[in-house]
């Protein structure tokens, strides 16, 4: 297989799950699709079936000042070439469906995003903290913007 064609991937996702997705052009070397948060689980399940086990490189979360500090969660996949799924969540009480049941390897990545950005992953077991101390109570989550301004 060669490079994953983002347009065929897009039409695959749109025809199979019925969700609309846009191409996000700014990540230079990795094709990225923006999908609505509630569709994430369906799309990941579809990709996992389609590629017969997909490799999830990691999950990145970040805040972008230009979008009103909304939390962006990016799922980076690799299947002969890299491509990503981007989800935008509100800054207040962000919630996202967990994909651990589809890709068990997402466990640590989700826990890290949960600790660092306060994203709540639904549909998975409650876990003790992975990186931060148990008694971490210094206000907002670790890498959140308001905590980080200097």
């Amino acid at each position: 297989m060669g490079k994953v064609n983002i347009d065929s991937l897009r039409s695959l996702i749109e025809s199979q799950t019925g969700c609309t997705c846009d191409v996000y052009p700014e990540i230079g070397n990795d094709d990225t699709l923006i999908i609505p948060p509630e569709r994430l689980q369906g799309v990941v399940a579809l990709l996992n079936d389609y590629f017969e086990g997909i490799h999830l490189s990691t999950i990145t979360a970040q805040q972008r000042e230009t979008r009103g500090n909304a939390i962006e969660v990016i799922y980076h996949f690799y299947q002969d070439s890299g491509f990503s799924l981007m989800i935008t969540l509100p800054e207040q009480s962000p919630e996202l469906a967990s994909v651990v049941s589809i890709i068990p390897g997402a466990d640590f990545y989700e826990r890290e995003v949960a600790e660092m950005f306060g994203v709540k992953f639904t549909g998975r077991d409650e876990t003790p903290p992975l990186l931060l101390p148990e008694d971490w109570d210094q206000g907002p989550p670790f890498i959140r913007k308001e905590d980080n301004d200097e």
């Binding site: 990540i27 230079g28 070397n29 490189s57 980076h76 890299g82 466990d107 660092m116 990186l131 670790f142």
Partner: protein, 360 residues
């Protein structure tokens, strides 16, 4: 029989780094385990947002003391991609040379640790002695044994001359003989085979499910290597073979790593022969234009992932580091089921933990 939970760590002779593990046992059988990381969490991703691109090279180098060079290499590639500059080809080759030397040092270090855990102290002493040869080369050309300070955005900070070339070639030759002996020992030493063969085998399906990368994946027959699949320069110009093994047990991992060391030594010689002439660095601007980039590279332990976003200032807006140890750690509790208590050290050593990488 009753289930007993044993806490291991954070300080424990079995592991050199702070990592806490709870292992459930029943008699001699291990039922499972759970992990607790974060003892080495230094908040590097967040610290990187408060320092400029030049200072970050020093910070990133200290993510991990074993694979420091590949971290800075990947970071520099990311910044250079955002700046949209191509550095002199000689710098790419010198970076690759250091990457391969680092792989040799990391794999030999790991082989020593595994040998120590199975009780073969002689092999531990031998591999660590051989490893010093690789460190000698790195010290000779960059000035640093473990952290090298070799990279900068826009190139490298060292250059080779004729004496270096001869010195590296002769040392690599010496190392080759040693590694060939080592491969022979691994394949034939009955004590090592008895302790590692058939221990905690991992199927290719499990590797895919847990997104495991690097030598652990290759030892289960999953043919992935970012140097070949998604090459950064100059790996697209270099020829090398990717070592895989179908068995997936602790022994297969040992064989894969030993043979990879040999392949890396060959690669070092190839890089020296192909080394182009010219400068080793270019001047780069301080401010990086706004943009986002993803770089994947092959660290000694597998796929290393960097995501870098710039907002046009001299500091990164977000730097995400995913090190290859994290998925391997994810797989560890899974491997812990259905083994004997005596096999715990072999299994823990087998995945080549680097907690400093995983915690950042």
């Amino acid at each position: 029989m009753n289930k007993i939970s044993i806490p291991i760590g954070p300080q424990h002779p079995l592991i050199k780094e702070p990592l806490s593990m709870k292992i459930d046992i029943s008699g001699e059988r291990v039922l499972g385990g759970s992990l607790r990381l974060g003892y080495v969490h230094r908040g590097i991703e967040r610290l990187a947002q408060t320092r400029n691109y030049v200072k970050n090279v020093y910070l990133i180098e200290r993510v991990c003391g074993i694979c420091s060079h590949i971290h800075t290499t990947t970071y520099c590639h990311a910044v250079e991609a955002l700046l949209d500059i191509i550095i002199p080809p000689r710098a790419y080759y010198l970076r690759a040379l250091m990457c391969e030397l680092e792989r040799i040092h990391s794999h030999l270090l790991w082989l020593g640790i595994l040998a120590k855990h199975v009780g073969l102290d002689t092999i531990f002493m031998h591999t660590w002695h051989d490893r010093e040869l690789a460190l000698d080369i790195m010290e000779e050309i960059t000035g640093g044994r473990v952290l090298h300070g070799a990279n900068q955005v826009g190139g490298v900070r060292f250059d080779l001359d004729k004496t270096h070339d001869a010195m590296i070639r002769s040392t690599v030759q010496k190392l080759k003989t040693q590694v060939e002996g080592l491969v022979d020992v691994i394949e034939n030493e009955p004590a090592l085979i008895a302790r590692t063969k058939g221990v905690a085998p991992v199927s290719a399906e499990m590797i895919r499910k847990y997104c495991v990368v690097g030598p652990v994946a290759r030892a289960s027959g999953v043919d992935v290597d970012m140097r070949r699949d998604n090459p950064l320069p100059p790996y697209d110009q270099l020829e090398f073979s990717v070592v895989t093994h179908p068995d997936g047990d602790a022994w297969a991992r040992t064989v894969v790593r030993a043979e990879e060391t040999h392949e890396s030594l060959n690669l070092c010689e190839r890089i020296l022969s192909d080394l182009p002439d010219g400068p080793v660095s270019t001047r780069v601007p301080r401010n990086v234009p706004a943009g986002e980039v993803i770089i994947r590279s092959e660290a000694p332990r597998g796929e290393l992932f960097y995501y870098l976003r710039s907002d046009g200032t001299d500091k990164p807006a977000r730097l995400k580091i995913r090190t290859p140890t994290i998925p391997a750690l994810c797989l560890l509790p899974e491997q812990m089921s259905a083994i004997q208590v005596a096999d715990i050290p072999v299994v823990m050593a087998g995945v080549d933990l680097c907690v400093a990488c995983a915690d950042r």
